[in-house]
């Protein structure tokens, strides 16, 4: 998906629209209803002494916010410095907050009836951050629990 593209679900499709994001080599889904904006991560200011799951400060449209690091939260090793990344700003919190992911994939629709518990072979951290798993094409997608991510 191109950066800053409007997050518009396809009304003809069934199920709840999710934005696919890639963290490490894993594919996750974020419910569109909780997302504000997606942007390419340009400048980020690291904050020494901040909680480990905080990536740093980012600015979206002039608003400075704290951005969480999806890799750390999901128990994956830190990304290489140079790799391009994206920041997704989340809505419905008392303060502006973002989530740093490696890449942004397509929007897909998940029928709630098809959501299953996360596979038992997933890492504990991975299991703790999802509400469940669903199949998209051939891949098993973890549906991220946004509140659990932020309020951990």
């Amino acid at each position: 998906m191109a950066e800053n593209e409007a997050l518009v679900p396809d009304p003809r499709r069934e199920g709840e629209p999710h934005l696919g994001v890639i963290v490490g080599a894993e594919l996750y889904g974020l419910p569109l209803s909780r997302l504000q904006e997606v942007a390419r991560l340009t400048t980020m200011r690291r904050v020494p002494g901040s909680a480990p799951h905080v990536a740093g400060l980012v600015s979206l449209r002039g608003e400075i916010m704290c951005a969480l690091d999806a890799r750390t939260i999901l128990g994956l090793p830190a990304a290489a410095q140079e790799s391009p990344r994206f920041v997704v700003s989340l809505r419905d919190f008392d303060y502006p907050i973002g989530l740093v992911v490696d890449w942004v994939a397509d929007i897909f629709h998940i029928d709630p009836a098809t959501v299953e518990p996360p596979p038992s072979d997933w890492r504990d951290q991975r299991k703790a951050c999802v509400t469940g798993a669903a199949r998209v094409a051939t891949r098993n997608v973890g549906l991220l629990d946004i509140d659990a991510l932020v309020n951990r």
Partner: protein, 705 residues
């Protein structure tokens, strides 16, 4: 001379010209390269400019002049008038049309004499409807007028940018043509004529570089002017949201009357400085703390009439509310002539509550002790009254002051009274900071908390420094922020001496960059408690800079302590250059601009923010020249010159006044006071200013010899 008859004529002519200009533009859009139409437009703009100039309608003539310039460029290269330029031209015509119609209605230039607010009573129905649409703000008409006056100036700047663009394109074309010719001649065998052509190329190149130089100068002037306009725009926008302190003060006469009755006290209330303006959001947040302070003063501070009588004081206690602007801050004071605060009582309470040992408390200064009354739950009163004395209230004051980026201070004398001062920023969003660098990262320290900056101060191994005869704990910023130890040591470091709530400490930074005014943004969310950051701001280049929390850093400095890893060398003696120039300017942006222009030209530049600071700097150092603004807080530019001329050492130091006021009267006042040159901001041109600086310094050196 009565120009009304001429004005009517002008209006008539201008309407015709505008109509024909409008038509011609529409035709040009259909037939973009037509030289005939471009010529028509040029002629109309030119005539319009001439007539407007004659009648002194400078705003119209200035816009028409820029239009004329644009179409002179278009005569040579029609592609200059692209879609963007079209928009601009139409907008310019709209502006002129508005002005002409104002003239038709008998308004005189400048358009400042807008509608008298008194003649247009708001209709209640309309007001109600508007209130539904969200928050509204009442704004004085004059404030809006000064804002709207900037519109033509901005259009003029945009037109100029189009011209520069056109010139750049022409230069680009010349360069391309020259390149092609050189290429051709390289392919051909070298003959005598070919070699002779080299001379031609050199001439062409010379012409091109001349034009480039001229373009660089004009672009740099444009930039200077744009900076001034932007700064003015910013100031005006801030002013729009400013309200007088009286909005809060006016509620007090009644409240004080009620409170004094319920406490059985007699109170004389006086209020000063109610017209001092503060940003609306600051005013709103300061109202509650003020109520607490007033209640406290009446309940705790002022004695009952009989007690006052015994002490030989007038029966009625005096309570004074005051507001005063100091630079970009406002001091609000609540002063009573009551019994004062007894440091011994605070010591006793503090010792009982285990704040510190009695022996330690003996060593505390009164300032530090008084600060304790802002701690939650701290009260020296034994009985609890209905309204105050439960130890709630004073901590609310400090919390509110902190949230606003301000501070609160108590001065008291037993038997004489207590003064509480709230030191608040004029506006909430802007914070003046000094940018520093540590570990190759930039951080911002609020200027309000900085007492001094000591460049290259000598290091002390113990982590304490003797600064101003006081020993102060010093720690490096990298260590305070928890950076990894650096691989290399900076060659030179500076110590920023911070003062916050009576604590003094020093922070060692690798470099002190500059002072800036930034838009403060609060940071919330899961950052953690370990970050000593009060907020963040965006720099001009889009970088995020954290604004340090000087309170949290005070605590850490005490823990981290010695900056042993840092070695400092003593600062170098003042380098020599063409001269030392002191810029006196309260607007940071303008000061920064002047500083930039002068230091680019090789001058060593110092900056003072008002006349008082300038006199201090002048007394301490040797300055070759002073560049000063006129309107400044504390001591204005004219008074500064008068004071300098009274001082035998500064009597001969040349002064250039740069002012936004351009009347003969203002110029005269400047020269009468002893200024050597007077530059109008609207005509600011860096070449002229630099020339004046050069000549004045050279002249004065000549005198000395």
């Amino acid at each position: 001379m009565d120009t009304s008859a001429f004005t009517a004529k002008f209006v008539e002519e201008a309407r015709d010209r505008l109509k024909s200009l409008g038509n011609a533009l529409v035709r040009l859009e259909e037939e973009p390269q037509s030289p005939a139409i471009i010529k028509d437009i040029f002629r109309d703009a030119h005539s319009l400019k001439g007539s407007a100039q004659m009648l002194g309608f400078t705003d119209i003539s200035e816009i028409a002049h820029q239009l004329e310039e644009l179409f002179i460029a278009a005569k040579r290269d029609a592609s200059v008038v692209d879609a963007r330029a079209f928009d601009l031209v139409f907008r310019s015509l709209d502006l002129i049309t508005t002005r002409v119609e104002e003239l038709a209605q008998g308004k005189t230039p400048p358009a400042g004499a807008a509608a008298d607010p008194g003649t247009k009573p708001e209709q209640p129905a309309r007001q109600a409807r508007r209130a539904k649409g969200g928050q509204s703000l009442r704004v004085a008409v004059e404030k809006l007028d000064s804002l709207s006056h900037l519109a033509p100036e901005m259009v003029i700047q945009s037109l100029k940018a189009s011209e520069r663009h056109a010139e750049l394109r022409r230069i680009e074309y010349s360069v391309a043509r020259l390149r092609d010719r050189v290429r051709e001649s390289r392919l051909a065998p070298p003959t005598r004529t070919r070699i002779a052509e080299l001379g031609d190329y050199a001439d062409s190149l010379e012409a091109i570089s001349r034009r480039m130089r001229a373009l660089v100068t004009s672009v740099s002037d444009d930039q200077a002017k744009l900076t001034l306009i932007t700064e003015e725009l910013r100031q005006h926008v801030i002013e729009l949201t400013m309200l007088p302190v009286s909005t809060v003060f006016d509620t007090f006469p009644r409240a004080v009357r009620d409170l004094s009755r319920s406490f059985g006290k007699e109170v004389d209330l006086t209020m000063t400085g109610g017209s001092t303006e503060l940003e609306k959001r600051v005013i709103e947040k300061v109202a509650d703390p003020l109520v607490h302070l007033v209640r406290n003063a009446i309940d705790h501070g002022l004695e009952a009439p009989e007690e006052r009588g015994k002490a030989g004081k007038p029966f009625a206690g005096s309570l004074a509310l005051g507001a005063e602007q100091r630079g970009n801050r406002v001091h609000i004071t609540v002063r009573d002539d009551g019994r004062g605060i007894d440091p011994a009582a605070i010591r006793a309470t503090a010792s009982r509550r285990g704040v510190a040992t009695a022996a330690d408390l003996e060593q505390w200064s009164d300032d530090r002790l008084f600060n304790l009354i802002f701690e939650p739950g701290f009260t020296t009163r034994t009985e609890v009254t209905d309204v105050s004395g439960r130890g709630v209230g004073m901590d609310v004051v400090r919390v509110a002051a902190d949230a606003l980026g301000g501070s609160v201070r108590v001065q008291s004398e037993i038997g004489r009274g207590t003064t509480v001062t709230l030191d608040l920023p004029l506006s909430l969003a802007l914070v003046r900071v000094v940018l520093v660098e540590a570990n190759d990262e930039v951080a911002a320290i609020p200027t309000a908390a900085i007492r001094r900056i000591l460049p290259g101060a000598p290091a002390s191994r113990a982590g304490t420094e003797e600064i101003e005869g006081e020993s102060v704990t010093v720690a490096s910023l990298s260590a305070l922020l928890g950076h990894a130890p650096r691989p290399r040591q900076p060659e030179e470091a500076s110590v920023v001496l911070i003062e916050s709530r009576g604590n003094r400490y020093g922070i060692v930074v690798d470099a002190v960059l500059e002072e800036q005014e930034l838009v403060f943004q609060e940071l919330r969310g899961p950052l953690g408690d370990e970050v000593a950051i009060a907020g963040a701001a965006l720099l001009g280049n889009g970088d995020i800079v954290p604004i340090l929390d000087v309170q949290a850093l005070a605590v850490r400095t005490a823990k981290v302590g010695p900056a042993s890893e840092t070695s400092m060398t003593s600062s170098q003696a003042g380098a020599t250059g063409p001269g030392r120039v002191l810029v006196v300017e309260d607007s940071l942006v303008a000061a920064e601009m002047h500083r930039g222009i002068l230091s680019d030209a090789g001058y060593l530049v110092g900056v003072a923010h008002d006349g008082v600071e300038a006199m201090e700097l002048l007394a301490r150092g040797d300055w070759n020249l002073v560049v000063t603004d006129v309107d400044m807080p504390r001591m204005n530019g004219i008074d500064l010159i008068v004071n300098m001329r009274l001082d035998s050492r500064l009597h001969h130091t040349p002064v250039i006044v740069i002012s936004s006021r351009d009347s003969g009267d203002h110029r005269k006042r400047g020269f009468d006071a002893g200024a050597d040159a007077y530059v109008f901001k609207g005509e600011f041109d860096q070449e002229t200013v630099l020339k004046a600086v050069r000549l004045l310094i050279a002249g004065r050196e000549g005198d000395r010899r």
